[in-house]
């Protein structure tokens, strides 16, 4: 994983440090300049919270609630009981059901956004598209911004799996809070290693040549812009050499743990998420796609949850038993539910934003709570209707963000983190 120690030529760190010195780079120099953030101060939106890391599992496409977390007679699956009295999940989540007592559940989410893009936007921001604020950050970026750490470069906001829409979007907070995206958990990092052909000698020569060229230039031109690039270059080299890169290496997990998460892509992504939470990365989002089951609802859900269920159960078990859950906020949600009636094509379900369920727990969230309920067929919320903004407010509060706080947008205007929405009192 580490660039300079893993090449076959076995370049040791000392020689690299020497090389860096030749570049005029001290690998331990602070990176304050890169992380300075204009008018916004992270402290201004922080509140007390034990949470150091947030894992957000995004079930993209709209997960059918009656077939998963809110089982009904019109669902296509059986039920699996949990350790919370009177509460069961659908059999698609039978392993997760056994770990459910560690966390809580909101069964009364409801919105009016039935379009993927709009609903995903809402899920990630608590705002509707076009609410007068273009360029707004997703909650991941807000949380990463508020929890940002000083010191050597390390990503603060990591997105795994699917991407698009608002996933990883930092808006006016700037590129450095954009999600560092990982498509494949087994090959999490791109371009942190030099080309495999390069020997130590050639590395050294490259560094010398680069330093020669940069010296020539720095005698001629100097400005903030060029300094910024130099700093980022330094950060990049530092990241390449970071001891913490092994945080990304899921092969470092013991094989029993890895086996519990499963050999699937989803399992590996969640295993990586666990490692990142352990390393206290402020926001980790894992997107699992394929829930847009307009046809073959039963087959497709079976297929996804075959991998997803054991992985979620393993994650909850692992977080719970290691005590990490005390400092890690866990959320599993989707942009909307699906029609309780079988709709298009007879074997599928369509978009249904009037009711769906979220799992949430960890940190200061009360465990074993079930907020709200839907009617017999899962068609409408009959108790404690909650909006997506309420959910975002709850996440903010739990993650140590003042949900009533404000940031300054790129137009220099105040941007309230949430327009409406209050934290759910039964949870926090």
């Amino acid at each position: 994983m580490n660039l300079f120690t893993s090449t076959k030529n076995n370049i040791n760190r000392a020689s690299v440090l020497k090389g860096l010195a030749a570049l005029g780079l001290s690998p331990l120099a602070p990176l304050g300049k890169i992380f300075a953030t204009g008018k916004n101060q992270p402290e201004s939106i922080r509140i007390a919270s034990p949470v150091k890391s947030v894992i957000f599992l995004n079930m993209a496409g709209g997960m059918s609630h009656v077939d998963t977390l809110d089982p009904k007679s019109n669902g296509q699956f059986g039920r699996a009981s949990t350790r919370i009295r009177g509460v069961s999940l659908a059999s698609t989540f039978s392993k997760t059901a056994r770990e459910l007592h560690r966390i809580s559940m909101i069964r009364s989410l409801s919105s009016s956004q039935g379009d993927h893009r709009r609903a995903q936007f809402l899920l990630h921001t608590g705002y509707d598209i076009g609410a007068g604020f273009p360029d707004i950050p997703s909650m991941g970026a807000v949380i990463a911004f508020a929890h940002q750490k000083k010191g050597p470069y390390f990503p603060q906001h990591i997105t795994i799996g699917g991407r698009g829409n608002m996933i990883g979007e930092a808006g006016f907070l700037g590129t450095r809070f954009n999600g560092y995206h990982i498509g494949n958990a087994e090959r999490p990092l791109s371009n942190v290693e030099a080309h495999r052909w390069l020997s130590e000698d050639r590395f050294y020569r490259r560094e010398q040549l680069l330093s020669m060229l940069n010296q020539h230039f720095s005698k001629k031109v100097s400005s903030n812009q060029t300094e910024k690039f130099k700093d980022m270059h330094k950060a990049a080299v530092e990241f390449m050499n970071s001891e913490r890169l092994q945080v990304f290496d899921i092969k470092k997990e013991n094989s029993r743990t890895a086996a519990r998460f499963g050999e699937s892509r989803i399992g590996k992504s969640l295993l990586l998420a666990k490692r990142l939470a352990q390393a206290e990365v402020p926001f980790i989002e894992v997107t699992v796609g394929g829930f847009d089951t307009h046809s073959n609802n039963r087959e497709r859900l079976t297929q996804i949850t075959k991998d997803l269920d054991p992985a979620v159960a393993a994650l909850l078990g692992e977080l719970g038993s290691s005590g990490l859950l005390k400092q890690t906020l866990f959320i599993l949600s989707s942009e909307f539910g699906r029609t309780p009636n079988m709709a298009s094509n007879g074997n599928g379900r369509d978009h249904y934003p009037r009711a769906w369920t979220t799992l949430i727990g960890g940190g200061n969230i009360q465990p074993k709570q079930v907020i709200g309920a839907t009617d017999q067929r899962g068609e409408k919320v009959i108790k404690d209707k909650k909006t997506v903004s309420d959910q975002v407010a709850t996440i903010y509060k739990a993650a140590g963000i003042d949900h009533g706080g404000e940031l300054t947008s790129s137009f220099g205007r105040p941007f309230p983190l949430l327009g409406k929405g209050t934290p759910i009192s039964g949870l926090i």
Partner: protein
């Protein structure tokens, strides 16, 4: 006789005097200061000094064509002693097709151009933009064409403009306000503008009403105004329209079986979208809990009057005329500001799409001057660029170490944008060896406005296949997330200006270890390549180094560097000693070059 002789003598004097006067005056014209510099001079107390020749050429080429100057251009420019060489080269660069390629990116991000849009031919919007820029169509004409577009997107590619917002009058209004009028009015969609008491919700709908007569036909050849729009007709037409629809259905659909209907649908399927114009369509003010509504809104210019319209008149024509009229200086201000930000390295105001009464405008006299010039130039973009780049203000040098940066006196270095960087990388690689067609010398006219700036050469287009690119414009937009272009800031093209220039760690890592970089440095030693041809002449590696320096860094090797390079070539680093053509050394040098601060900045 004497008087006569005297007269003759004095005549000669007069003639001589006139000739002398004319010559002097002529000289005065020759050395007359660029009018922009006369206005610019007052901005800073620091002296404005020119950048070095090679630096200037690199800047000029990257700004006008989004690519580095070729080696031949470098050699000819630096040895050219003529006074007007910047103008000469600027004209060449502006006529080069790479101008259209590069500025299509700039316009593309403003117009949210996407290569593949549903129901539009691939790259049609790009083709419209690039060919307009290539032929130096006036910006005013372009905007008019876009706003008044109608018909099939294939035949009238400017109709892509309405496809982007699906013809929704509210979204179009918001977009037009930001892009061409320079106001963010989105807030007033739901309530009176919170920061601008003069702009009410009704004003917002007044603006949107100019775009109410448009709708986009996407599905079927026979399609009526969509159901949700019908209530925007005046009451008496609503019934008429519904009747028409019913009649048509009766005649064509009612009696058909399900299968027949399906066949009919297939037969009438529309492949290419059409922008439809329906003169009777208006826009109803929405009902709200706290405000009355339901009436048809009268079109109203933002912060202006209610125009008197003839019945059935295309409201967009009226709006476009108002927007692009001489009186509306904002139209020019907004555009000139964008161009100036790129070329001069500072914007007169920011954000680029929101100019309010509170906005602080810097260097206002310069902005006003350019706005005026742009009008006199009949809104021709190339002429505006040519005007700016031939000034001393443009040609000023960048700040030296230890100097207090002063953005008026110094050119503030810019990091290459994705297109400039990509094109430069392609050029640095050994593969794109074909120089440009600039050898054809063009006759130079004295007056900038009379110079022929019509582009030369056939334009490149976005490619279907994702390989073998020689220019960033060949990559489909929005660029795929995993691509070099996206990493370096090519945006989604969903919103105005969503390309970014923010620096990220990923960019630096990509430049250090990425695949494009690797392709570039590995090509260096290719014996079929451009660089090798310099070695062949005298078997001297320094000939290759020199060519590489000129091509990639647009400069000569400094003395210190020459000594160091000699040491590298003779030291233990030289790779396999027997091999005189030092491939690895070239690869390493090229890698270092594309990662250098010098390469990555326009300065």
């Amino acid at each position: 006789m004497v008087p006569f002789q005297k007269l003759r003598k004095s005549k000669i004097y007069i003639v001589t005097a006139i000739i002398l006067f004319l010559t002097l005056q002529n000289q005065a014209i020759e050395e007359k200061e660029h009018p922009l510099d006369q206005v610019y001079a007052g901005l800073s107390s620091n002296a404005i000094e020119p950048a070095e020749d090679n630096v200037l050429l690199k800047r000029l080429s990257l700004h006008t064509r989004g690519r580095l100057p070729s080696l031949t251009e470098y050699q000819r420019f630096t040895s050219d002693k003529s006074k007007d060489k910047v103008k000469k080269y600027a004209v060449r660069f502006l006529r080069d097709r790479d101008y259209a390629h590069y500025w299509s990116e700039m316009f593309g991000v403003l117009l949210r151009e996407q290569s593949q849009q549903r129901k539009a031919p691939m790259g049609s919007y790009y083709n419209y933009i690039s060919s307009s820029l290539h032929e130096n169509k006036s910006y005013r004409t372009m905007v008019k064409e876009l706003i008044t577009a109608k018909g099939s997107v294939k035949k009238y590619p400017q109709a892509n403009f309405y496809l982007r917002d699906d013809g929704d009058p509210l979204q179009v209004a918001e977009y037009v306000a930001r892009a061409f009028y320079g106001r963010r009015l989105n807030c007033a969609r739901c309530h009176d503008h919170p920061y601008d008491k003069k702009f009410t919700r009704r004003d917002y709908y007044g603006l949107a009403a100019f775009f109410s007569q448009v709708w986009v036909k996407k599905r079927q050849k026979f399609e009526f105004v969509p159901r949700e729009k019908i209530h925007h007709f005046p009451k008496k037409y609503q019934k008429e329209y519904q009747q028409k629809m019913r009649d048509w259905n009766q005649k064509n659909r009612r009696k058909l079986s399900k299968a027949q209907r399906k066949r009919l649908r297939e037969k009438n399927k529309l492949e290419i979208a059409e922008v439809m114009y329906e003169p009777k369509l208006g826009l109803r003010f929405p009902y709200l809990d706290d405000a009355p509504g339901g009436d048809l809104v009268k079109p109203k210019f933002p912060y202006g009057e209610v125009p008197i319209l003839d019945p059935g008149e295309d409201r967009r024509e009226v709006f476009a005329k108002w927007l692009t009229s001489k009186k509306n200086t904002r139209f020019r201000q907004i555009f000139v500001n964008r161009v100036a930000k790129k070329l001069l390295g500072f914007a007169f105001f920011e954000p680029l799409d929101d100019l309010t009464s509170e906005t602080k405008i810097e260097a206002q006299p310069v902005l006003e001057h350019l706005v005026d010039v742009f009008h006199k130039q009949k809104y021709q973009v190339k002429n505006l660029i040519l005007y700016i780049v031939t000034s001393k203000a443009y040609q000023r040098r960048s700040p030296r170490p230890g100097e207090n940066p002063d953005r008026f006196a110094h050119f503030r270095p810019q990091r290459l944008d994705y297109a400039q960087l990509f094109n430069s990388m392609v050029q640095a690689s050994n593969k794109n060896q074909v120089g440009h067609i600039w050898e054809r010398s063009s006759a130079l006219a004295k007056e900038i406005s009379k110079i022929n700036l019509k582009g030369r050469g056939e334009l490149k287009q976005p490619k279907k296949e994702m390989k073998d690119f020689s220019n960033a414009c060949e990559v489909r937009k929005p660029a795929h997330y995993n691509t070099f272009l996206s990493i370096f800031g090519a945006g989604d093209r969903n919103d105005i200006d969503d390309d970014t220039t923010d620096l990220s760690i990923e960019q630096v890592l990509t430049l250090l270890n990425g695949r494009v970089t690797t392709q570039v440095w590995r090509s260096a030693s290719d014996e079929k390549g451009f660089y090798f041809s310099f070695y062949k002449k005298k078997n001297d590696m320094f000939d290759v180094y020199r060519a590489m320096y000129r091509t990639v860094l647009t400069r000569e090797i400094s003395e210190i560097e020459e000594q160091r390079l000699k040491r590298f070539t003779s030291s233990k680093f030289s790779g396999r000693r027997q091999q005189r053509y030092r491939k690895q050394m070239l690869e390493d040098l090229l890698w270092s070059m594309v990662n250098s601060d010098e390469f990555i900045h326009i300065y």
